[in-house]
Symmetry: C2
Subunit: 232 residues, 2 copies
DNA sequence: AAGTGGTCTAGACCACAAA
DNA sequence: TTGTGGTCTAGACCACTTG
């Protein structure tokens, strides 16, 4: 950056300090961009960059003509990255393994799956089940419904999991995510190597491309699993 | 914006289209900012804004001198907002209620809590338990340890939950978040009005200010609760 | 050494919302 | 009507990283 100039990061830091120290009170109007530019001896563009960033982070609320106010209840956010399960396991320093349990085109699609994927006609879906292992022990059970219009039947998921194949080949999907707890029934207990009735952490995801429904998946994690992240 | 000019949003959209349509292949170098500015007939600043935004969203990887590449495995993100439980309940269209269950300064702090809050000396912590209700039924059990150096004993949590008080009064905290499943024991089953052994969705949060450990809380949600969000 | 993205400037016009 | 933030421009220098 130019010598002697004030960076937008340092301006952001100073503004954040004033917010945290309540020099600028919650709900209160702060000076406008031109005034702050003069105070800090920089261009208005630089002030704009700093305040825009703080607004994106939830600290400020900005409106044309209305000015900039300190947010009354700043919304804190927790961000979870949707990654490949293999990479999650390896990031824990454990050996990764994968077993394909079943793969069939199933005409009997549960109504809930049909609705979640917003399918109109009674399209047959492909059902793929696989077990992800960490150090040889069950880590995550993947139960997935695939739209055959998107993933052809020639694609096999015995060597590479459907999870990894989809992330690598259809990365630009959007969708929904739902987290919940489920109690292990006899079948789950056997697969996940835990007692019947164990509480298991679970996740449903549905993903869509711009034009198609792609997949609905239920991931059930082994006993004791925790999904962790930072707040900010 | 100026008439006839190309907005950074439309430039971003066009670049994203090229990525999704694989006109720019994963891992491949795309034209540099100056070239794109010429192609689109705009200033380099505008190109920079668009590409920087795509990089923040995980679609591109940028390096000085190294140029800009399409990300090999774009990282999708799910964002959860940390809100006030009362507002969560009201957003569902249900009536909110709150009951304080217990509030005492407890010298016997579990080692796990002590460690999570990174406390050095054996500080006594305040322990507050409260039950959040939706339409009169148990919605979320809040079990919280508070640092008395941050929240004085004069602050009562019978009318307002500790959750809401903290979000309103100490909003600028960072911390950690952990999601998991827990099986209801006899005490939990009674409080949450469910069968013993029911799998319950649960969340641990620890929060810190710049200078202090503030609180460690365990939130246990009622049977059937799902935490939902969008991908993108 | 050289090329690329990162940032700052000064000025301008515009879009939106409040008065 | 007016004030505020949102954005674009053209130019400049700088920092980082690669060769």
């Amino acid at each position: 950056m130019k010598k002697g100039a004030i960076s937008w990061q340092s301006l952001r830091a100073e503004a954040l300090r004033r917010i945290c120290d309540q020099e600028w009170l919650p709900g209160e109007l702060i000076p406008n961009e031109a005034e702050l530019a003069q105070e800090f001896g920089c261009a208005r563009t630089t002030v704009n960059r700093a305040l825009r960033d703080l607004a994106e982070s939830g600290y400020l609320e900005r409106k044309r003509k209305g000015g900039t106010r300190v947010a009354l209840t700043p919304v804190r956010k927790a961000i979870f990255e949707i990654s490949i399960i293999r990479q999650d396991v390896e990031a824990r320093g454990q050996d990764y393994g994968y077993t394909l349990l079943s793969d069939r085109c199933d005409a009997e699609v549960p109504a809930s799956v049909h609705a979640a994927l917003r399918l109109k006609s009674a399209v047959p879906l492909r059902h793929v089940c696989g077990l992800h292992l960490a150090d040889g022990r069950p880590f995550c059970l993947e139960q997935r419904w695939l739209n055959p219009a998107v993933v052809g039947p020639e694609q096999k998921f015995d060597a590479i999991s459907a999870n990894e194949w989809l992330v690598r080949n259809l990365p630009f999907a959007h969708g929904t995510l739902s987290l919940y707890a489920v109690s292990a029934d006899a079948r789950l207990a056997q697969i996940m190597d835990c007692a019947v009735g164990t509480a298991l952490f679970s996740m449903d995801r549905t993903t869509f491309s711009d034009t198609h429904s792609i997949t609905a998946v239920t991931l059930i994690y082994g006993s004791g699993f925790r999904m962790e992240t930072d707040i900010n």
